[in-house]
């Protein structure tokens, strides 16, 4: 997986599998401090300390179909190879937060990739979950720009009309693409 956005999608899928009802995905391109930070925070079932630790181990997975889980360990490795790291905080019954950092300018830093597509995929596929997306850019001079999408209003307006209706889909896709595109460095 050669895109941070794909890893965020992967982590968000874990949050969904953990029964989360509220998931927040954040990305901060802090060029001023040369850091790219991304996180996924959920209110799913969470993990005890031992399980949380083993998630970083490639030979741990909750899947029953095979015995290796590579998503998070590979992301951790990629982060460490570009002078960053990955941390995971979890409380049973409370939720989980996975945060990854990279040195923004590092030659080996994975590209952020198509963030809008990741947002759109999870938003459309899991309508019962309350999604919050936050994308921030801090320029070299310190100016900050921010795009936040909280699906509450959108869903209130839609009622029981699914997001996969073509007109709605078109609207939501354009909104996410424009929001991300407007501040992407």
């Amino acid at each position: 997986m050669r895109e941070i956005s794909l890893h965020l999608l992967d982590i968000a899928e874990n949050s969904v599998a953990a029964g989360a009802l509220n998931i927040r995905i954040e990305v901060h391109e802090d060029i001023n401090n040369d850091i790219l930070q991304a996180s996924v925070e959920d209110d799913g079932r969470g993990m005890d300390a031992e399980t949380a630790k083993s998630v970083l181990d490639p030979f741990y997975t909750t899947r029953t179909t095979r015995k290796v889980g590579l998503g998070i360990p590979l992301l951790k490795l990629a982060a460490e190879q570009s002078e960053g790291g990955l941390s995971l905080a979890s409380q049973p019954g409370q939720g989980t937060r996975v945060e990854v950092t990279f040195r923004h300018s590092h030659i080996d830093r994975m590209p952020l990739g198509d963030l809008a597509s990741t947002f759109l995929a999870v938003l459309v596929a899991y309508p019962h979950i309350h999604w919050i997306f936050n994308y921030r850019v801090t320029q070299a001079g310190g100016e900050r720009e921010e795009f936040t999408f909280d699906d509450t209003e959108l869903k209130a307006e839609l009622g029981d009309l699914p997001m996969t209706e073509p007109e709605i889909l078109s609207f939501v896709r354009a909104m996410l693409e424009e929001g991300v595109g407007a501040i992407k460095p």
């Binding site: 997986m1 794909l6 999608l9 992967d10 899928e13 969904v16 599998a17 899947r63 029953t64 179909t65 095979r66 889980g69 590579l70 998503g71 198509d114 597509s117 990741t118 759109l120 995929a121 999870v122 459309v124 596929a125 899991y126 720009e145 921010e146 795009f147 209003e153 959108l154 307006e157 839609l158 009309l161 699914p162 996969t164 209706e165 073509p166 007109e167 709605i168 889909l169 078109s170 609207f171 896709r173 354009a174 909104m175 424009e178 929001g179 407007a182 501040i183």
Partner: protein
């Protein structure tokens, strides 16, 4: 803060979509499920998903529900897509890249004829 689409615009669009959907509901439910486990994502499932959504948007296909599921244990066949049309049995597709996804949308979801070349035979 960048200018983003306003919710007022959504109100208008919503009315329009609702009308069209009501005309369509007779055709029965159609479900498209894209497998998005780590294996699926690594194999390109997000592009598959994007292709499905693009097709819906461009061809104004109403009444299709699009969801995701995790790893179903056949990682070597990813990206995997499942299609359920009305009461018919579920069809599993293998190696669904963006192009194949478009074909499935056109021929199976809209045309009612499964795309034989990519069916994943399941020994259920």
């Amino acid at each position: 803060m960048p200018a983003i689409k306003s919710l007022d615009e959504l109100k208008r669009i919503r009315e329009e979509a609702l009308k069209k959907k009501e005309m369509k509901t007779a055709s029965g439910s159609i479900q498209v499920i894209v497998a998005m486990g780590t294996c699926g994502i690594a194999a390109g499932a997000r592009d598959t998903m994007k292709s499905v959504l693009n097709y819906i948007e461009e061809n104004k296909v109403s009444g299709v529900s699009v969801t995701q599921t995790g790893c179903i244990g056949m990682c070597e066949h990813e990206p995997i897509v499942e299609v359920v049309v009305g009461e018919q049995p579920k069809v599993y597709y293998r190696k669904v890249n963006a192009e194949v996804a478009e074909k499935i949308m056109k021929e199976h979801v809209q045309g009612g004829k499964p795309v034989e070349s990519n069916i994943l035979p399941l020994q259920v």
